[in-house]
């Protein structure tokens, strides 16, 4: 019996060891190959970068570039893409034209059909970079439009980014629509790219999105607008303060300091200080602080006296923002018999004095 057990275990372990050592040799070979490739890239890429910088500076001779393209198309593609965040306008067009001339754009288009997801993703990233240049867009534009319906999130994102870069208003609007229906991560990433098209989007796409009946969509649109953190040419926004969803009311209030406001809008913001939802009141207090609304003094002082610690803190901070009278009110309230009110007022005064606002 023991002989049988010993033989069985030995056989199994031997087979297992054989597999492991086989895999070990394969891993060693792969490791060595990777190192060689990395070393080669480390040698090649600075040289390619230098040649490309010369080219961007106006040198017309492409002999060296052609030589490097022949030697390693992947390295040239990598270096080209490394300029992604550093160049724009004419310089970027020049680089994209070079990629087109050297057949790199066509190669990337082919790679978008690869079965390897990593290769496909890389191809879309490169194509998205190149498609800011109109002739490249003629080559890869259709592929990018098709990619808007790709199963892979990252590829869809790259396609959206490429279209945003191209800046065609209808396409930018469709990307904005796509962003509203995406998960929060994609929305955050696209919001950054869409920021510079805010003015165009505020003409039609944004008002339409804000008029939608679907609360999730409206909230997503408001999230994007708040994230832009820039002045927006929007009107009629404050109708949203009548919506049932408190999150919509909160985000609308966060947006208040960034949009044009009529006296009626200001009144709506002040009314929000008496909203039944405490979170909405907090948002309203923050907004009136940023807007420095003198007319909010009484309402803020009332909020400060409610005894709710969070509301007291935010209201006191808002009062501290209101020049002159805000500080006087805080001084008075800092002697209040209500501990929360007095503490919040003292804290706001102390902070304001420390940063030299009073």
């Amino acid at each position: 019996m023991i002989t049988l057990e010993l033989s069985a275990v030995s056989m199994l372990l031997a087979a297992y060891a054989l597999w492991i050592f086989g895999m070990f040799i394969a891993a060693l070979l792969r490791g060595a190959a990777t190192r060689r490739a990395q070393q080669r890239a480390a040698e090649l890429e600075p040289k390619i970068r230098e040649v490309l910088i010369h080219y961007l500076a106006g040198a017309e001779d492409r002999t060296e570039i052609r030589h490097y393209v022949k030697e390693s198309r992947a390295a040239v593609s990598t270096v080209l893409l490394s300029f992604h965040t550093t160049i724009s306008g004419g310089a970027r067009d020049r680089l994209c034209e070079l990629a087109l001339d050297q057949g790199l754009v066509h190669e990337w288009c082919q790679q978008t059909r690869s079965k390897n997801l990593a290769v496909r993703r890389a191809a879309f990233v490169r194509l998205a970079f190149a498609c800011s240049y109109e002739p490249c867009r003629r080559v890869g534009g259709e592929i990018l439009l098709d990619a808007l319906n790709d199963a892979d999130d990252e590829i869809r994102l790259e396609a959206c980014r490429a279209l945003v870069q191209a800046g065609v208003p209808e396409e930018v609007e469709s990307v904005f629509e796509a962003a509203l229906g995406s998960n929060p991560l994609i929305r955050i990433l696209l919001a950054e790219d869409l920021r510079r098209h805010a003015a165009v989007l505020c003409k039609r796409a944004v008002p339409e999105a804000l008029r939608a009946g679907d609360s999730a969509r409206v909230l997503a649109a408001l999230d994007v607008l708040v994230a832009w953190e820039r002045a927006l040419p929007l009107r009629g926004l404050f109708n949203l303060l009548q919506r049932d969803d408190p999150q919509i009311r909160i985000q609308t209030l966060h947006l208040a300091p960034l949009v044009e406001m009529t006296p009626e809008d200001m009144a709506s913001v002040l009314d929000a200080l008496a909203d039944p939802d405490e979170r909405v009141v907090l948002a309203a207090a923050q907004s009136v602080g940023r807007l420095r609304l003198q007319s909010a003094m009484t309402a803020l002082a009332r909020c400060l006296r409610t005894g709710n610690p969070e509301l007291a803190r935010v209201s006191a901070a808002a009062l501290a923002e209101i020049p002159g009278t805000g500080a006087v009110t805080l001084e008075e309230l800092s002697d209040s018999s209500n501990r929360v009110t007095a503490m919040a007022a003292r804290e706001a005064l102390g902070r304001a004095r420390q940063r030299g606002a009073m």
Binding site: T3, I20, M23, G31, R313, M343
Partner: protein
């Protein structure tokens, strides 16, 4: 009598050997599962969006909670590190439990704190001047668990971060952990992240590397593929605040907390899950000597023992992650006990002439040889899991250190594991 004893001992050693062999086979299958899970995770996302997330106003607030009882330089440094983490929007909530007025004064001076009203039971709540986002809670004397729970209640964040400032941290840890939760906001309630550190060049350093590699592949990746991942010491964890407020009992470590979330999800049969980020966002510093190795084993063993005790309080109990916790317990307590007993019986029996050489050989094959192959498999499977190959010299060094690891260190570690289960805390 002697023949009967010999037969009994011999049989016992054979049974133990075969049980351990099956345990080794199960470990290998877990490693394999972990490898495939890592390959899948690697394909899910290859992007690094931290720069965009860093400046976006849409990124939700994270509150990093931390409990302390002193104002030592080391503690203040730890809090500074947590404040300095890169994120668009995070605050640190420090719960000082049972500190003297002098200690509080030290903190006030260091961070220029203002007393502030907050809806939380505390002797006082203090906040730093912006841009430093620090809230300090001055609490009555209480346990660390209670202090942490009060910190969670006092926090403003949509997400709560548990970051070990003594671990080796990637400063973008919060953003990296937040990513899966933003990608699947309705499903992912927590995200845990770690990866083995760069090993030290010493033999003990390589043993530590193999040990952490095994944990990473099994308790990290493989468990994540079954939605059973529970963080170990040195891991970074970000959790949604809402389910955290419903967590039962006095959780103290992230492992207990995540166990609680799993229990809630299984009981309510919802589709929430805990994600695993297999990157080096937070990891215990690599051990370089036996003392460091022992500390590594002790900390891990303590957290498992504590989770085992705590699991009775959570929904689902010790089955909160299905067979995961019992299996972990079996691997960390029963296996070392059984193996140590097996060594005593096999070697003692062989010396006393009660056990034949074949039985001894079988036992050594099922323990030492199997252990070597499992450790070697861990090294190789990591290579398969990652899409880039490692340095061949480094790889060979770690691969072959599996041999001495199982000739002496494995047996010593078994004793540490047994002792560690009765160790009460950090």
């Amino acid at each position: 009598m002697t023949a009967g004893a010999a037969q009994t001992v011999s049989l016992a050693v054979q049974v133990i050997a075969l049980v351990l062999f099956l345990g080794g086979a199960a470990s290998f299958l877990m490693l394999l599962r972990g490898c495939f899970a890592l390959r899948r995770l690697g394909r899910v996302s290859s992007r690094d969006d931290t720069l965009v997330l860093l400046k976006s106003a849409m990124v939700p607030q994270i509150s990093v909670v931390y409990a302390a009882q002193d104002a030592l330089l080391e503690t203040r440094k730890a809090v500074r590190l947590l404040i300095d983490l890169h994120s668009a929007n995070h605050e640190v909530v420090l719960a000082l439990h049972g500190v003297t007025p002098e200690v509080l004064e030290e903190w006030r001076r260091e961070f220029q704190l203002f007393e502030t009203p907050r809806s939380v039971e505390a002797r006082g709540v203090w906040e730093a001047q912006r841009p430093t986002r620090l809230v300090v809670l001055d609490l009555e004397p209480c346990s660390r668990a209670e202090a942490l729970q009060t910190a969670v209640r006092a926090s403003n964040g949509t997400f709560i971060g548990f970051i070990d400032p003594h671990a080796e941290l990637n400063m973008e840890v919060l953003l990296r952990l937040l990513r899966p939760m933003l990608e699947q906001p309705d499903e992912v309630v927590a995200c845990c992240g770690t990866a083995p550190p760069v090993p030290k060049a010493s033999l003990a350093g390589r043993f530590a590397a193999i040990e952490m590699l095994r944990h990473w592949l099994t308790r990290g990746a493989a468990f994540a593929s079954w939605n059973m991942v529970t963080p170990g010491p040195g891991w970074a964890v970000v959790v949604r605040r809402e389910p955290l407020l419903n967590a039962a009992g006095a959780w103290e470590r992230p492992m207990e907390l995540v166990l609680n979330l799993h229990g809630q999800a299984r009981t309510k049969r919802n589709n929430s899950k805990v994600a695993f980020l297999p990157h080096r966002v937070s990891t215990l510093p690599a051990a370089g000597d036996l003392k460091g190795l022992r500390e590594l084993v002790r900390r891990d063993q303590t957290s498992i023992a504590s989770a085992w005790r705590y699991a009775k309080q959570v929904s689902g109990g010790r089955r909160a992650i299905g067979w995961g916790l019992p299996a972990l317990r079996a691997n960390r307590l029963w296996r070392p006990l059984l193996e140590t007993l097996g060594y005593v019986l096999a070697i003692g029996g062989f010396a006393a002439g009660l056990v034949g050489w074949r039985v001894l050989a079988l036992f050594l094959l099922c323990t030492v040889a199997t252990g070597m192959l499992v450790s070697m498999a861990a090294v190789i499977l990591r290579e398969l899991a990652e899409f880039q190959g490692s340095d061949p010299v480094e790889l060979a060094g770690t691969f072959f250190s599996a041999i001495p690891e199982n000739l002496g260190y494995r047996q010593l570690r078994n004793l540490w594991l047994i002792a560690g289960l009765w160790d009460k805390g950090d």
